[in-house]
Symmetry: C2
Subunit: 244 residues, 2 copies
């Protein structure tokens, strides 16, 4: 048995997220079916994290154990030949027997894309969140700085989540304007459920003056979800990289 790690990108538009579930097509299930086709084995893939329906990945990492004789470097070609076109495997390598894509992850980087044009874009509808209001990007950049560092982020977690330890360390959080697009990038040692989308929504509120920059620290301190901004739509979110 070998332990193989895969790196892949997927367009999440047509999937109910990563994790296998009843009555809905997911990336995990689609990948496991493709693996069965080429290895003839019943393989359970270990993903680096769940992703929500409509969320995309540029550098998703997973691993699985197999007796297949297909060399690791041929695996992307073999898999891509049977996978649908919206999932592309671009790296495969053998990893230590106990490597676990989720438990071994030391952190992750996400991107959140906002389309801020005068009219929505026919091409970005599934790949960015459309925000028609004028944004003060400098304000968003100022607000972003306040999230960096180790904080209790429970104000930025979906209501109903049951995680007990809500302290996370945000390594970096940047906001950049490129034409009509605003790109938020955030890396941290871990993320609470919907944390990136709620931080994106809070930065949007800061950008339109609905939340004062000075208020961010207060919101973090209170831990009150209702004080933070909206949960920005899933189609703007990309898992960019997993750190090991």
């Amino acid at each position: 048995m070998k332990n193989l790690m895969l790196k892949m990108e997927y367009d999440g538009t047509n999937y109910h997220g990563w994790q296998r579930q009843e009555n809905a097509i997911t990336v995990q299930e689609t990948l496991e079916k493709a693996l069965k086709k080429i290895t003839k084995e019943e393989i359970t893939v270990i993903g680096c994290s769940r992703t929500d329906a409509g969320v995309h990945a540029l550098g998703y990492v997973c691993n699985f154990h197999t007796s297949s004789k297909i060399p690791a470097e041929k695996m992307p070609y073999a898999l891509n030949s049977v996978l649908p076109e919206d999932i592309v495997v671009y790296d495969c390598r053998e990893v230590p027997r106990d490597f676990h894509a989720r438990f071994w992850a030391k952190g992750k980087k996400y991107r959140y894309r906002i389309y801020n044009g005068k009219y929505p874009s026919a091409f970005e509808r599934n790949y960015a969140y459309y925000w028609p209001y004028t944004l003060d990007v400098e304000c968003m950049k100022e607000a972003a700085k306040l999230f960096i560092g180790e904080h209790d982020f429970r104000a930025f977690m979906a209501t109903g989540s049951r995680v007990k330890d809500t302290v996370r360390n945000v390594f970096d959080l940047s906001v950049e304007k490129k034409g009509d697009e605003i790109i938020i990038e955030i890396s941290a040692n871990g993320f609470l459920y919907n944390m990136v989308r709620i931080i994106a929504g809070t930065l949007l509120y800061a950008g339109v003056g609905k939340i004062d920059v000075e208020r961010i620290e207060y919101i973090i301190k209170t831990g009150d979800r209702k004080e933070a901004g909206i949960t920005a739509a899933p189609q703007g979110l990309y898992l960019v990289e997993v750190y090991y």
Copy 2:
């Protein structure tokens, strides 16, 4: 009655091209239904040109006559509120009574996008043509120059087309590499059926050495479709601009 001109972009992935037809959803039909919803009139829209299934538009132009009292500048908002998200109207203005989006066009500009990464892209599958082979972009640039000017382009027209006058004036044809992407842009006073896609296919053949650059002039001279390259896939093609 006013004559209104619209400018729009559309993602052609889910449409059988522009022109209304039986048993298939087209952009024209979708737009005419939207116009009916907001004007209550049975409107026939005049498009600047046909586009094939899967082909995209960034600057499609069309016009229609209406008695509607909706001011031209409000028309994009009114239409976008009832159009599906993959069609976006971003300009509307009143034009002379005899303006005709097709007959008045003095020329058009198209873009053809090629994705030349080591693996296909999950995100570009409907928006660029995937070409996995190494391309000599300098060779493609040299080949492109030979198309510029007034030539008989019948070697670059889909077999079976019945157009008699096959002389067109190519104003410009450029090839540019941006990361893993190769972008071809071509402007001309008019285009034969599939002309851009066949020129793109011929440039790809030049890029892999399957057609010598010197041979391009000979192919134009013979007018033989079989001498030219493949018809590159529709999803790489964008109508960028119409000149009036």
